[in-house]
Amino acid sequence: MKKIVALIRRTKLDVVKSALDEVGHHSMTITEVKGRGKQKGITEIYRGREYQIDLLPKVELMMVVDDADVERVVDTIMHGARTGEIGDGKIFVLPVDDVIRIRTGERGSDAL
């Protein structure tokens, strides 16, 4: 099993969610985050003073999937989230030791 962490544009969340639904991957956790990479920051103005903000709001999408599904999920997210401009985001794939369903106590792939 692998944990997939995707940092994507806020505007792409709905697209990615729908695309993942279509390939049968419904479960996920979303966090609103701020981050920076190659994308240029933004300017905010308060009381006549300009502030350069380089932390931009993004969405972090987290899913845990079977090893066999990783490539399909990664592809789906990539195609949904890509615009071709700097700031599209990144996907990380990490190993997972175990998964437990709290309600039933099932473990491993059965809990996914």
Binding site: E44, I45, Y46, R47, G48, R49, E50
Partner: protein
């Protein structure tokens, strides 16, 4: 001889005006300020206004009213002859066409907001105990004398200084005090202005704008032509101030901001305050225009250059626009609006000189005495919270409360 009789129209209006002015502090000003601070300090910022209002409410009716409006001693201060306002309400005394008690509570609201205004400069770093000690000391040693000098028949009034609703007594007074206090308090660790909830500030600005009709039009003390005139010019100055600040921002940044617009409106309102019962609509437009320009300059050029951390621009907006407005009375006071005032535009150069004197005196007095008060508090209990508390945020550090529970 005219015998004073209670006029229920005047009284009804003044009751409403009083409530409007109180609304300006709680929660108008409280909201305006709290939206501009970091979310960890929102409750403390609200609290500063609320507690100032409460303390002044109590002290005003013990001795405050009498010290301002009581029998004058050498033009310096009044004698509070009715401590705890004993017998005054029972006597059914009148002040013109309204109950004396109503005049007293109306004026109380002015004293309260003047103190609360100062809080905007010291947000995010002042000890709450120090603020609570500051309130009665500043009220007693600065507000009461200055108010007496200008409104209680004191020496500035005797010299002919005109201040319809508080350009000197409220705005310059609090603005200068704020400056003095922050010079001693020192700057915040994080001086950047990142309003955590600008919507509160806009709500607050709206409440202030509406409340200002009580502030300025209510200072006519009657429901009639002068109140109407004051109402109109108050609104005009605010609207022009708002638009001109937007224009300045557009020329400077190519963008207009909502905070800028609201700030321009407040500047316009502060500036028209001393002039509301003396000027016509055209003059009010000039006043609003000037207010946006001077306050914008104060915030964008003077403050950064001199380096003081007047966090929410109390001196920048109330101090500077107040000074402009008080001088504007000397320029634009029209005897056709109010027989009590004639300015340079109508052939009287003397008024301008008198206004300047009033400004200079108040500036010097408020600044020096505030410094002394603040220094005394600093030497006894200390003005400023610890560095750790400042970083944690005052809501939790000072009050064990958080505003936004996740």
């Amino acid at each position: 001889m005219v015998i004073a009789v209670l006029n229920s129209g005047d009284t009804a209006w003044m009751l409403i005006s009083t409530a409007l002015v109180i609304l300006m502090t709680i929660p108008g000003l409280a909201l305006f300020y709290s939206g501009l601070v970091k979310k960890e300090n929102v409750l403390n910022t609200l609290f500063l206004s609320f507690v100032a209002y409460a303390v002044v409410s109590v002290l005003w009716f013990i001795y405050g009213y009498g010290a301002v409006f009581g029998s004058d001693i050498h033009g310096i201060i009044g004698i509070p002859t009715n401590p705890f306002f004993q017998g005054v309400i029972e006597s059914h005394a009148l002040y013109g066409t309204i109950p004396l008690g109503l005049y007293a509570v109306f004026e109380m609201a002015f004293a309260a907001i003047t103190v609360a205004l100062i809080s905007g400069a010291l947000v995010e770093r002042m000890k709450f105990g120090a603020w609570m000690l500051f309130i009665p000391l500043w009220l007693t040693l600065v507000y009461l004398p200055v108010a007496h000098w200008v409104w209680g028949g004191g020496w500035l009034a005797q010299l002919g200084v005109l201040d319809f609703a508080g350009g000197i007594v409220v705005h310059i007074n609090s603005g200068v005090a704020a400056l003095a206090l922050v010079l001693l308090l020192g700057p915040r660790q994080d001086k950047r202005l990142f309003p955590h909830q600008l919507t509160y500030s806009i709500l607050g600005a709206g409440l202030l704008w509406i409340g200002w009709f009580g502030f300025n039009a209510g200072s006519a003390l009657a429901a009639g032509q002068l109140a109407t005139s004051a109402f109109i010019v108050t609104n005009t100055s605010a609207a022009v101030g708002l638009l001109v600040w937007m224009l300045i921002e557009y020329l400077r940044f190519g963008k207009v901001t909502l905070l800028g617009a609201a700030s321009g409106a407040i500047a316009g309102l502060a500036a028209i305050t001393p002039a509301a019962g003396f000027v016509n609509v055209m003059s009010a437009m000039v006043i609003g225009f000037g207010a946006a320009v001077v306050s914008y300059a104060a915030i964008s050029y003077i403050k950064p250059r001199l380096g003081y951390d007047d966090a929410l621009d109390v001196f920048g907006i109330h101090g500077f626009s107040g000074i402009w407005g008080v001088l504007a009375v000397g320029l634009f006071a029209s005897p056709f609006i109010n027989a009590a005032g004639t300015g340079l535009l109508y052939g009287n150069a003397h008024q301008l000189a008198v206004q300047a004197l009033g400004i200079a005196v108040t500036f010097a007095y408020s600044f020096v005495v505030t410094l002394v008060i603040a220094k005394s508090i600093d030497l006894t209990i200390g003005l400023r919270v610890s560095s750790d508390d400042e970083q944690q945020g005052l809501d939790l550090a000072t009050h064990d409360e958080i505003a936004y529970r996740i």
